[in-house]
Amino acid sequence: HTPAVTKWNKRNLSWRVRTFPKESHLGHDTVRALMYYALKVWSDITPLNFHEVAGNNADIQIDFSKTDHNDGYPFDGPGGMVAHAFSPGEHHAAGDTHFDDDESWTFRSSDAHGMDLFAVAVHEFGHAIGLTHVSAIESIMRPYYQGPVGDPLKYDLPYEDKVRIWQLYGVRESVSLTAKPEISKTNDQPVLLDLPENRSTNPLRRDAPNRCNTHFDAVAQIRGEAFFFKGKYFWRLTRNKHLVSLQPAQIHRFWRGLPLNLDSVDAVYERIHDHKIVFFKGDKYWVFKDNNVEEGYPRLISDFGLPLGGIDAAFSWALDDKTYFFKDHLYWCYNEYERRMEPGYPLETTLWQGIPNRLDDATRWSDGATYFFKGKEYWKVMDSNLEAEPGYPQSIARDWLVCSDMQADAPAPAESTRTRQHAKHDESHSKIEVCSCTS
């Protein structure tokens, strides 16, 4: 019997971990990383692209739920039914994937202890993109839990599963159809898992700015996280607004493909319709797929219908899913889906009451507000209106970058004191390692 085939008509699919396991020893970033790699197993061989997003509109919403969670598939405590996912389609739950929060979810554990989250996630995402259960012992789509499948970075789908998914979506260009890789059945423990990015181990450079006493060139929400750009550096905050590291990272070491002589950026935003990231500097812009620049860039900002001369700020407004560009006392509204500037623009920025001219940048955030940044201060505007909330501006350093009022208020150090501070900084670094503790 041939079951009804359901598949996604689009090839770019967004995902989000909406709720995390509540009593698991797995950190949020580890869970996200395991989901990323479990999806990558499928996108490595098919022309599907998965992008992590922040909002409520993700195609694949991932939840850790207990007992009856109102979807017709109640969980039953430890053991028994451990997870499920909804097949592609038009229904609101299509693609959504649920894990039983009563299971002891593990990573790098032996067979006997707990439920390997990566192995189960690969199976469930198979459902989320249209596969049904099969009886073949070696298939990841066999309904029974068969223990860990090894290192997520090295996992290779069984050939039968590849063929089934190729029948739905075709083959990714880079994949050889004839290659039948041998399945490694070793008991190797997974290697260190990290989020898919470079994390610089270089010491802080002497030209690195002081996050507590600076204005920022650009601020953007990317994949639900906040990025503060200054000069050749950036700081990153998790979606819970926790600073990943006190040390900034170097832009060029993370965002691969920007010119090496680029000493700063003007504005950055994540595009709504395809989740690509757009960087602006002067008259030029670059489009990134994840953290790699696309071919054919830079291009001129006149592509957007913007006048040459650069922009101050760019952000996608959650209210209308349109992109807003700011320059001096003017702003424009761009329709990403139709790739054209909305008629009637530019308008005066005075329509955004309480927001200053000549912004540094602006960004949406997951709390239903847009934030505008200028100098050392920021303004909050709820998505339902065009007016800054009462009580703003507030301090960027204090509220976003983990600085005390005293640090943030301190004047910029003179050259001599700056040198002394560096010496002190270096001395302290010999004793204290500043770490990124996200997982």
Binding site: G80, H127, S135
Partner: protein
């Protein structure tokens, strides 16, 4: 060894949940026949890689207790065809 009555009852629930057995008709209250039950067990055993005996033996019960995905193995239409 064949299962006792409790195992048979929970086995029928399991087979229904995962698509091997159609749920009893709520209008007529009709129960599955022994023959239907045995056929469903055989299909489940084949799908699970066990010897297809049609008997709810220990190996079958063990497989039923193995942690698994909540989704059915067969669609309702497939179970109906079996019936």
């Amino acid at each position: 060894a064949p299962a006792d009555d409790d195992d048979a009852s929970s086995g029928a629930d399991w087979l229904t949940r995962f698509g091997y057995l159609l749920p009893p008709d709520p209008n007529t209250g009709q129960l599955q026949t022994q023959e239907e039950l045995a056929k469903a067990i055989m299909t489940m055993q084949q799908f699970g890689g066990l010897e297809a005996t049609g008997i709810l033996d220990e190996a079958t019960l063990k497989l039923m207790k193995t942690p698994r995905c909540s989704l059915p193995d067969l669609l309702q239409s497939e179970a109906r065809t079996l019936r």
